[in-house]
């Protein structure tokens, strides 16, 4: 009797999560897969086919766009890690109490503003008549106005900026649990700054680094606003291709195939990354 009640309680508690998973994640993806595997042969007539998947591999524009997106996302992930690590170290180890919560808040504050508005903020800074251009002209470093938008650097800046928090939070959490004694012990046994970082701090923070990297990589790969707004029409981001297929060409089958490919290929890259760094997914998600 009691165990029945307990079981019912468990199901009720799990219910919303399971429904959410099923209705909003599993179902759309199954449907997407089905859509991607059919080919329109006439008005309202379809047949099963892999032609849309073949198109991805035979049309260089498509897979080159994907490769470019993947490489840029990996680069953005690495840059975010390099910038976020000292920040996280400072928050976790160097400051205490009020200053610490203030710094944490400072990382969070940008996320109170919509991503669109934040990205427009960058456009105000970087455009031809923008703040940076104006400053360069005022100091005399540039003679004319400088256009800093619509290139890869602008996209990269936007991606790193949008991902910072998702790297800082897991890093702070893991670094926080690093006992200062371990660092002192490593110094005492003859380590110097670099070797302590390499042999003690980074291995210890690895779960945080990996989970932060996975999140940032996935977010960058799936980002649409930042590449389109900061990179312009020529930014060649893979999500843009999907958008074009669905909305501009009204070719849902091709768009769905790209969607599935994005999921599979990005999962493959994450898996490869885990293998290369000899991390296990369960360890990271602990």
């Amino acid at each position: 009797m009691k165990s029945d009640g307990l079981r019912l309680g468990t199901w009720l508690l799990l219910g919303p999560a399971l429904l959410w998973l099923l209705l909003l994640i599993v179902l759309p993806h199954v449907d997407m897969l089905l859509v991607s595997l059919r080919q329109r042969t006439g008005f309202g007539q379809y047949q099963t086919s892999t032609v849309h998947y073949l198109a991805f591999f035979t049309e260089p524009l498509y897979w080159r766009t994907f490769m470019r997106t993947a490489v840029m996302s990996i680069l953005a992930t690495i840059l975010t890690l390099v910038i976020a690590f000292p920040v996280a170290w400072y928050i976790a180890k160097m400051v205490r109490g009020r200053v610490r919560s203030l710094l944490f808040m400072a990382c969070l504050v940008p996320f109170w503003v919509s991503e669109l508005v934040r990205t427009y903020g960058w456009m105000i800074l970087l455009r031809e008549t923008g703040v940076v251009s104006g400053f360069l002209q005022w100091t005399g470093l540039a003679s004319g106005s400088v256009e800093m938008l619509y290139n890869d650097v602008a996209v990269m800046v936007g991606l790193v900026y949008a991902s910072m928090l998702f790297m800082v939070v897991p890093l702070v959490t893991t670094l926080d649990s690093l006992d200062d004694c371990l660092i002192e012990a490593a110094y005492d046994l003859g380590g110097n700054g670099w070797s302590v970082l390499r042999e003690i701090v980074i291995p210890f923070a690895m779960p945080g680094i990996v989970s932060g990297c996975i999140v940032v990589f996935m977010l960058s790969l799936g980002n649409y606003l930042t590449p389109v707004l900061l990179g312009g029409k020529g930014s060649m981001w893979f999500t843009e291709q999907i958008f074009t297929q669905f909305i501009v060409r009204f070719n849902w089958e091709q768009g769905a195939a790209f969607g599935v490919l994005l999921l599979v290929l990005s999962s493959l890259i994450v898996w490869l990354g885990l293998k290369l760094t000899r991390q296990s997914f369960t360890e990271v998600m602990r």
Partner: protein, 382 residues
Amino acid sequence: MSLQTPPIDLQCQNLCKTFGSHRAVREISFAIPSGSFFSILGPSGCGKTTLLRMLAGFLEPDSGDIRIKSQSMLGVPPNKRPLNMVFQHLALFPMMSVGDNIGYGLRRRSVGADEIRRRVADVLKRVGLPDAAEKRVDQLSGGQKQRIALARCLVLEPTVLLLDEPLGALDLKLREQMKIELKQLQQTFGTTFVYITHDQSEAMVMSDQVAVMNHGRFEQVASPQALYYAPATPFVAGFVGDSNRIEGRLVGGGEGPRILSRHGLSLAVSPAGEHPLEDGAGVEAFVRPESIRVARGVHDMASDNQLVATVETVLFDGANSRIEVRESVHQLDLLVRLPQTHEFADLRRGETVSLGWMSGQTLCFASGGGDGDRGGGQGGRG
């Protein structure tokens, strides 16, 4: 110095450290001969951790000098000192295997891989865990972790090994066992050990020399026996071993000095400490529970000090059983160790006992002696 005296491994001269207005370590000087086991014993907050961190190099002293094998260590960072430390919570690296933990220091010194493997295997054998190299740190028991932490330092063959209360986290049985093991390891390795603890039993059992520290100062540096039998200050008398502390005034007389306690009891004492005792001055006397002889009923105890008392509480603790008694006339409370004879097996609360002890076992110090603020109020019933 004679030729037989071993060389000095670690020497401190007038070491001082102040945090804000708090003088954590004041004017500490000592010298530790090579190969000895030296303990620094003191209550928490006495400055022993500050002293240790200065020795290890994590803190710079405000003034004074630290010398290892006559080399000044001032300005030498922790990773360049010929001295290693076993941390309170051991600080074994959780992401490395046991072998990698021990090899860490050797890798920092760019020792070859084969040489590292050989020396790690050798030190593991010496601490009695020959098969542990491949294990993960969390697979070890508390006592094994202890030995690995020790091995990780000893493999570097340091001149001095610092130990910061490493037995604190162990349970009682294991702690007793590790005390003996640590002492044996120290003797086989022959390394100079500096052991920091607040546990007098650890200090007494293992050490050649013990420094009793209080309020940033060394009260006394001596062998465990000397600390126990001839404490130099009232703090040491109260802190090392158990003691009954009796406050009163000194009364001179024909048959030697006596203390007149504030209860009105007069007891024969023998003066101790470096400060001379004056008639009528405030003094405190210390009697150990184990130096008081006890008999059931009212007897002549043939001692300098004789009392009749009532048993208040029986604290049965096997070999370390004690009774709390109250002296019948003046209501003085005393703690008395029970002899391990069956005579006292059925001793009950409310019984009358006779107590007796010699004046030589009643050490009397000038009150508030020592130097300035001595904290006082240490009941001494550790």
